[in-house]
C-alpha cells in the first residue's frame, strides 16, 4: 500500500509541479487576504464590527451562512467518512443539511432578538451579569475546542501542501495561518469575515464542481460504476452501503446508540454554534434571515451531494485502507483524491490547476471558519464579560471596538498556543465535543428562551452550567478519553460511561434542569418575580396575544425594536 500512498498524497508531487502549485496558491490566497483586511469598517462602530451594519442581502447571506456551515472539518471529514464508512458517511452529510432545518426554525425569533452576541439574546430574558458570564463561559467552551480542531487540521493540510511533513512544519503552518486569521479578524471584523466567507464558498463550490466533473468523466458519467468501484476500493464491498460501519468496533447496543447520538449531535449542534447565531444577526430583518437560511439549504445540499460523490471516488481511486493509513479520521481523503485525479506525481497543467483549486478551497475554508469562530469568541469576551459585567456598560463605542479587537487577539493567541501544544494528538473528538456542548447547552437555552414564556434566569443558569458540566463530564468519563487503546489517555481508567457520544444523555438532562430551575426558582421567590414583571398572569397574556417577549418589562421596548445601536 505504501508506494500508492506516496504517489497519491500531495507531498509526493515532483519539484516543478510543486513550485507551480505553490505559486498558483499564493497568487490566489494573498490577494484575497488583502481584500479581506481592506474591507474592514472605516470607522470604529461596534455595529459595523460585530454585524457589518446588518445590511446583508439574503443571497450573499446564504453564501456566508453556507460558508459558516461547511467548515474544514465538515468538508474534509465528510468526504473521508463517505470514503471509509460508506452509508454512515452519507448519513453524516444529510445531517449537516438537516441541521440547517433546525436553524431555519430558530432564525426568525433569533433575528428578532439579535444583539451582538448570544449573551444579548439571553439578556432579553434574564438580565444581569450572572447570565452573561454563563453564556460567555459556554461560548468559549464551544469556540476554543472548535478553533483548535480547525487550526490543527489547517496546519496538517498546509504542511502537506507545501511539501513538508513532521511536527515542526505543521506547528509553524498553524502559527502562520493563525496569525493571518487573527489579522483578518482584528482589522476586518465582520466585514472581513463576510468577504472571506463569500469568496470561500464560491471557490469551494467551484472546486467541488471541477472535481466532481473530472471524477464522473473518469467513470464515464456512470454513477453505478462509481459506486461499484467504491465498494471494491473500500475493502468491504458487502458492508459498504450497509448502515453501522462507523461504530462497527463497538458492542451491539452501544454502537447503535452512538450512531444515533452522533447524528443527533450534528443535527442539533451545528445549528447552535455561537458563530452561526452571530451570522443570523447580520440580516437586515427577520424575514431576510429566514430567507437566508432557506437559500443556504440549497447551497449546502448541493455541496453535500458533491461531497458524497467525491467520497465515493476517493474510496474507488485511492482506496479506504490507504486513506485510513494516512489519517484515521479520513480528513486527507479529498486531497489524496485530487492528487490521484490530477494524474499522480508529475502532472500536466490541467491537473496542477485542479490541485491548486482544491488546495485553495481547503485553505480558505479553514481560514474563513477560524475567522468566524474567533469573532464569536471575541464578542463573548469583549461584549459580554468586559463591557457588560466588568464595566457595567460604561464604555464608549470606540473603546468597545478596541476591546473586541484585543479580545480577538487574545482568543487567537490562546487557540494557536493550544493547537500547537496538542499537535500530534488525536484532537478530532474535540470537534464532536464542542458540537455536543453547543447541542446540550445552547439548544435548550435557545429553545426555552425563544419559545417558552415561563423561562427564568435560574432556569437559564441551570441549563447552561448543567448542560456544560454534563456534556464535558460524560465525555471525560467516556471511552474516547481513557480506557481503550485508541483513547487520548489509554492508561487511565475513568471510562464508566459506555457511549462515545454524550448528547443522548446531556441534552435531556439540560432540558430537565432548565425546567426544574425555572419552576423551582419561581416557587421560591414569587414576590420578586412579580416585582420584575414576570408574574405568571403577565406571561400568559403575552403568550396568548401572540407576543413573544415575556421578558422583564424593562427589556420589552428593546426587544421590539431592532437592538439599540450601542448594545446597552
Amino acid at each position: 500500500m505504501s508506494p500508492q500512498i506516496m504517489l497519491t498524497a500531495p507531498e509526493a508531487l515532483d519539484e516543478d509541479t510543486r513550485a507551480f502549485v505553490l505559486m498558483g496558491f499564493l497568487a490566489f490566497v494573498v490577494p484575497i487576504l488583502f481584500i479581506c483586511v481592506l474591507s474592514g469598517p472605516g470607522r470604529d462602530r461596534i455595529n459595523e464590527f460585530y454585524t457589518a451594519g446588518r445590511r446583508l442581502s439574503s443571497l450573499r447571506g446564504a453564501l456566508v451562512l453556507a460558508g459558516v456551515y461547511l467548515s474544514a472539518a465538515t468538508v474534509l471529514g465528510t468526504t473521508g467518512s463517505v470514503a471509509v464508512f460508506g452509508y454512515d458517511g452519507l448519513f453524516i452529510a444529510l445531517c449537516t443539511m438537516l441541521s440547517l432545518g433546525v436553524l431555519l426554525l430558530l432564525a426568525l425569533p433569533l433575528r428578532e432578538r439579535a444583539g451582538y452576541t448570544l449573551g444579548d439574546t439571553f439578556a432579553l430574558r434574564a438580565p444581569g451579569p450572572a447570565a452573561r458570564v454563563a453564556v460567555a463561559v459556554v461560548t468559549l467552551s464551544v469556540c476554543v475546542p472548535y478553533l483548535v480542531v480547525q487550526l490543527s487540521g489547517a496546519g496538517v493540510t498546509t504542511a502537506a501542501l507545501l511539501g513538508l511533513s513532521g511536527p515542526g512544519a505543521e506547528q509553524s503552518a498553524i502559527v502562520m495561518i493563525g496569525v493571518m486569521v487573527v489579522c483578518a479578524t482584528v482589522f476586518g471584523g465582520m466585514h472581513g469575515t463576510i468577504v472571506i466567507q463569500v469568496i470561500k464558498t464560491v471557490v469551494l463550490l467551484g472546486a467541488a464542481l471541477a472535481v466532481t466533473a473530472v471524477l464522473l468523466h473518469r467513470f464515464h458519467w456512470s454513477t453505478d460504476s462509481l459506486i461499484e468501484a467504491a465498494g471494491q476500493g473500500s475493502g468491504r464491498p458487502v458492508d459498504y452501503l450497509r448502515p453501522g460501519l462507523r461504530f462497527a468496533a463497538g458492542a451491539a447496543p452501544e454502537s447503535t446508540l452512538d450512531f444515533i447520538g452522533l447524528m443527533v449531535t450534528i443535527v442539533l449542534g451545528v445549528a447552535c454554534l455561537p458563530h452561526v447565531a452571530l451570522q443570523i444577526g447580520t440580516a437586515p430583518d427577520a424575514a431576510t434571515a429566514r430567507r437566508t437560511v432557506r437559500n443556504a439549504i440549497g447551497i449546502v445540499g448541493a455541496l453535500c451531494l458533491g461531497t458524497a460523490l467525491m467520497g465515493f471516488a476517493a474510496a474507488a481511486l485511492v482506496g479506504a485502507p490507504a486513506i485510513v493509513a494516512a489519517d484515521p479520521g479520513g480528513t486527507t481523503a479529498l486531497l489524496m483524491l485530487t492528487g490521484e485525479l490530477a494524474g499522480g506525481s508529475s502532472t500536466h497543467a490541467g491537473g496542477a490547476l485542479l490541485v491548486v483549486l482544491v488546495s485553495s478551497a481547503v485553505f480558505l475554508t479553514s481560514l474563513a471558519v477560524v475567522a468566524s469562530v474567533t469573532l464569536a469568541a471575541a464578542g463573548a469576551i469583549a461584549h459580554d464579560v468586559y463591557t457588560h459585567v466588568l464595566r457595567r456598560g460604561r464604555m464608549t463605542e470606540g473603546r468597545e471596538v478596541a476591546a473586541a479587537r484585543w479580545a480577538s487577539v487574545g482568543v487567537g493567541v490562546l487557540s494557536i498556543g493550544l493547537a500547537v501544544s496538542v499537535q500530534g494528538w488525536n484532537v478530532l473528538f474535540l470537534s464532536v465535543l464542542s458540537l455536543a456542548v453547543a447541542a446540550s447547552c445552547l439548544l435548550p437555552a435557545l429553545v426555552y428562551s425563544l419559545f417558552w414564556s415561563g423561562y427564568t434566569r435560574a432556569g437559564l443558569l441551570w441549563t447552561l452550567y448543567g448542560g456544560l458540566g454534563c456534556a464535558v463530564g460524560l465525555q471525560i468519563s467516556g471511552p474516547v478519553f481513557s480506557g481503550t487503546p485508541l483513547a487520548l489517555f489509554p492508561d487511565w481508567r475513568l471510562d464508566w460511561f459506555p457511549l462515545q457520544t454524550v448528547v443522548l444523555v446531556s441534552l435531556p438532562a439540560a432540558f430537565l434542569l432548565g425546567w426544574l430551575g425555572s419552576v423551582a426558582g419561581r416557587r421560591r421567590a414569587p414576590a420578586v418575580a412579580q416585582g420584575r414583571g414576570l408574574s405568571a398572569e403577565g406571561s400568559r397574556q403575552d403568550a396568548g396575544s401572540g407576543g413573544r417577549f415575556p421578558a422583564a418589562a424593562g427589556d420589552l421596548p428593546i426587544a421590539r425594536q431592532s437592538y439599540s445601536p450601542d448594545g446597552r
Partner: protein, 88 residues
C-alpha cells in the same frame, strides 16, 4: 381559545407553518434513523442499478427538507403579511 384574539383568517393553510415544518422533518428523520439502526439489510437492498434503498431514502429526506423549507418560508411570509393587515 382566547376570546380576545380575533380570528379573521380561517384559511386552509396551517396556523403554525413552523410547527408543520418541524413535525414533518423531525418525524421523517426519526423514522429514517430507526430504519438505519434496525433494518440495515433492508437499507442495503439494491433497487435500481447500484443504488440502494438507503441512498434513495437519504435523497428523499434531503428533497423533503428543501421542499418543506420553501413552503415554510412562503407560508411564514403570508402569515406575517396577514397579521400586518389585521394591525400591528
Amino acid at each position: 381559545m382566547d376570546p380576545h384574539t380575533p380570528r379573521l383568517h380561517h384559511g386552509p393553510r396551517p396556523r403554525h407553518p413552523g410547527m408543520t415544518f418541524a413535525v414533518v422533518n423531525g418525524s421523517a428523520f426519526g423514522a429514517h434513523l430507526l430504519l438505519a439502526c434496525a433494518a440495515d439489510a433492508f437499507m442495503a437492498r439494491r433497487v435500481w442499478g447500484e443504488a440502494t434503498v438507503g441512498m434513495l431514502a437519504l435523497l428523499l429526506q434531503g428533497s423533503l427538507l428543501v421542499w418543506t423549507a420553501v413552503r415554510y418560508d412562503r407560508h411564514a411570509d403570508e402569515r406575517r403579511a396577514s397579521q400586518g393587515q389585521v394591525g400591528c
